[in-house]
């Protein structure tokens, strides 16, 4: 009898504790979501955004906190003073976790770009390392504010993962890495075993490409690249398929030297990689998108990290607007909810697109290719800032 009641008491305590926690969070969320529903669809949200950008974002803490309750992610990121950016820890050139705890790479720098634009401080980023299969769940549940984790933009991810993809910052395509001299092209690979990372579009691309070629291959998928490398170097698989950019990085750092492996000439998919945010918050999506645009626009204007200060006195009205220079006592505020000098902060603290590319991807042997500015025959094009 005594034992049973002790058990009951323990169970009760547990249940009460969990109920307390759960109901607290869910209450908060319920309030939040009802707030959002009320705002969404009406022009409330838009007005809020304008007001916010105009007066508060720069100083008044109290106002910003009040805005958080309105439901906008932009306001809550600004209130928190830190951007939670979903990234990864070991993809050469894109995001590598260093021994000192910092993240270095192309994607990591784009996290910094967004933080510089939204918060004015490129280092106010919490780089959250995510497994490939968990990344959308993390985005949906608000564990991260934005996903910059070389993620391919596809229709079904837009549609059923609850993600909104923004301006592509790297146009990639899938390739195949094989041992040097083993295969000359994809057509030779009938009956081979291909290793890929689990939970990616890579898996499906390999399947559909070989289906198209009428060849049968086995596809093994592993959770992390170290295990793929182990399987590949031990000849468990004949090919290693991933985005070409990632493969360049893998090849550059291959244990037996880059010449032990080759990347086949075929690129068999379109992989536009870009940042993604959760559906339903247009204001936040636009803020992130314009942070990316700023790096492209800066390259187009020829503004770099080192010469940005000299452009503050430029006579070009477009550049003045872009950098938030005051004209007749006021600087252009397009109402994005970003500080008016966000582009200046992005360039000053992180750099323009070309600089970020040269810093991280050029060392892997990648050339700009389709990732050049539109004026150089590439795909990068930023809408006018006015």
């Amino acid at each position: 009898m005594r034992k049973t009641s002790a058990l009951w008491a323990l169970l009760m305590a547990l249940v009460l504790a969990s109920a307390a926690c759960t109901s607290a969070t869910s209450d908060g969320e319920a309030a939040d979501s009802s707030g959002t529903t009320a705002d969404a669809g009406t022009d409330d949200g838009g007005d809020d955004a304008t007001d916010d950008g105009g007066d508060d974002a720069t100083d008044d803490g109290g106002e910003t906190v009040e805005l958080t309750q309105g439901g906008g992610l932009l306001a809550s990121v600004q209130a928190a003073g830190e951007l939670k950016c979903g990234t990864r820890d070991a993809l050469a050139g894109f995001a590598v976790l260093q021994g000192d705890g910092t993240h270095v790479g192309f994607d990591s720098d784009f996290c910094r770009v967004i933080a510089a634009a939204v918060l004015g401080d490129a280092e106010a980023v919490d780089h959250v390392d995510l497994e490939t299969a968990d990344r959308f769940t993390a985005l949906q549940s608000g564990v991260v504010d934005v996903l910059v984790r070389n993620t391919t933009w596809t229709a079904s991810r837009d549609g059923s993962e609850g993600a909104t993809f923004l301006q592509t910052n790297f146009y990639d395509g899938q390739g195949m890495l094989v041992n040097a001299g083993s295969y000359a092209n994809l057509g030779d690979m009938d009956g081979s075993v291909i290793c890929v990372a689990a939970g990616t579009t890579t898996e499906g691309n390999v399947a559909s490409e070989f289906e198209r070629l009428g060849m049968g291959v086995e596809v093994l998928s592993f959770e992390d690249n170290d295990l793929i490398q182990e399987a590949f170097t031990n000849d468990r698989c004949d090919g290693w398929s991933a985005d070409s950019s990632a493969l360049s990085g893998i090849r550059a750092n291959f244990p037996d030297g880059p010449d032990a492996v080759t990347i086949l000439p075929e690129v068999f998919s379109k992989e536009p990689l870009g940042p993604a945010v959760a559906d339903g918050d247009t204001q936040w999506a636009q803020a992130v998108e314009w942070a990316i645009f700023a790096t492209i626009q800066a390259e187009e204007f020829g503004i770099t990290q080192s010469n940005v200060d000299s452009f503050l006195t430029s006579d070009n009205p477009n550049i003045q607007k872009f950098l938030g220079v005051e004209i007749d006592g006021a600087s252009l505020d397009p109402g994005l909810g970003l500080p008016t000098d966000f582009a200046y902060q992005v360039i000053k603290q992180v750099g323009n697109y070309a600089e970020i590319f040269e810093r991280h991807l050029a060392p892997l042997g990648l050339s700009r290719g389709v990732n050049a500015l539109w004026s150089d025959g590439g795909l990068l094009y930023a809408p006018p800032y006015r």
Binding site: S33, R157, V193, A207
Partner: protein, 408 residues
């Protein structure tokens, strides 16, 4: 109990009052206590309170998922099962254009494949280890002890990874230097291949069944003849060739053939291949589960009264006969409920195949989620399949337990 206690206590205190008076007072005190003192009512109230809190928490959790997914535009239904899967499963016939439900079926079959074989092998190994732990032979006793103490104190994930990296990736040879026994066996890191039957499998299984029945009948007839005449029966000498002859000629008539493994480039053609990932997972699961089963069997053998063994010795049974006919039947009866737990664990532990790319249920689920199936319903489906399997295993174990109980 309480009333008796009361009565004694009150009786001791009230030696002056008459027994009648005392009885009346006691009746007043014990007959109808107020509800806050009535243990039965209190416990009912308590249980209702707990139940309603649990239901409330569940409702909140469910509602959270529903509202949040709705806000994000993620559907919570099972329509995704009809969508094209978009991926392939190694050593399985799934095509990327086939629906997600086929992927789930094949993943589930892969889980069963490793679980069923794992159950059999780990039971056999476990019983052997359990007996070995009590062996009079110093070497066997200590080897099995070292095995048990090492394996059961390592997390299974570690064993699975080790089994894959050390066994499959390092020990199995590359295709160029495959192990080969002519047409009988071909082993490399693409799999282990043995000759296999071609043609219609159901027909062939039917044939084996028929041949088995006939062979069994012949064996019984030989036994009877032997008992009647006292001549040696030679059951095996009769039944085995008959079985083989029927199967051979039957297969020729039914059009079943034999494929033997051969290497074409890096691909193994023909025969039946055991996937390296399956092999690694099976080895890890069997080693791990058998170390636990071994301990259960050892304990159960020790639970059999010593007198049983001694009585068997007195009847001049050999040590093997004592174990086989006297001790083990009683020990296994004790072991069954605990074995059931190990079987359930094994079924669920097979999910660790996902780290080494063995496409069992969890791997398939996470792959379909990576290929745009919604996470919550997909995981719900996966959990229901595991639950159903576990309940079946549990029911079978309970059935066996009831069958083996001594009627009392």
């Amino acid at each position: 109990m309480v009333a008796a206690h009361h009565r004694k206590w009150i009786g001791d205190r009230m030696t002056q009052t008459t027994t009648d008076q005392a009885d009346q007072r006691i009746a007043k005190m014990t007959d109808k206590p107020p509800f806050w003192r009535d243990v039965r009512k209190l416990s009912w109230g308590f249980q209702i309170a707990v139940l309603s809190i649990v239901l409330f928490v569940l409702y909140i959790l469910y509602n959270n998922v529903r509202v949040n997914s709705q806000n994000l535009g993620i559907p919570i239904n099972f329509d995704f099962l009809g969508q094209p899967s978009g991926f392939t499963i190694p050593a399985n016939p799934l095509r990327e254009t086939q629906a997600v439900k086929h992927a789930f079926v094949q993943g589930y079959l892969n889980t069963l494949r490793v679980a069923v074989v794992g159950l059999l092998l780990s039971t056999i190994l476990g019983i052997a280890v359990g007996i070995g732990r009590l062996s009079g032979n110093w070497l066997i006793r200590n080897l099995t002890r070292i095995y048990v103490e090492i394996i059961r104190n390592i997390p299974l994930l570690g064993i699975v990874m080790f089994s894959y990296l050390a066994l499959v990736l390092s020990v199995l040879p590359k295709t160029e230097d495959s192990w080969s026994l002519g047409a009988l066996f071909l082993g490399n890191n693409r799999g282990m291949t043995v000759p296999w039957i071609t043609g219609s499998m159901p027909l062939f299984l039917g044939l084996v069944l028929v041949a088995g029945i006939i062979a069994w009948a012949v064996r019984t007839w030989r036994q009877k003849t032997s008992e009647r005449t006292g001549e040696p029966g030679r059951e095996m000498l009769w039944s085995v060739p008959i079985f083989l002859l029927i199967v051979f000629w039957g297969a020729v008539i039914l059009g079943n053939g034999l494929t033997t493994p051969s290497l074409e480039g890096r691909k193994v053609e023909g025969g039946m291949t055991m996937q390296p990932e399956y092999f690694a997972l099976l080895v890890a699961l069997v080693l791990y589960t058998a170390s636990h089963i071994g301990e259960i069997v050892r304990g159960s053998i020790q639970a059999v009264p010593k007198g049983q063994n001694e009585a068997a010795s007195a009847l001049a049974l050999s040590s093997w006969q004592r174990m086989r006919h006297i001790v083990l039947p009683q020990a296994l009866r004790v072991a069954v409920p605990s074995l059931g737990n190990q079987y359930l664990n094994l079924v669920k532990n097979s999910s660790l195949g996902f780290v080494i790319s063995y496409f069992e249920l969890v791997k398939v689920t996470s792959t379909t989620i990576g290929n745009r199936s919604p996470a919550v319903p997909a995981y719900m489906l996966m959990m229901c399949l595991y639950l159903a399997t576990s309940l079946v295993v549990s029911a079978l174990v309970n059935y066996a337990n009831r069958r083996m109980q001594v009627a009392s």
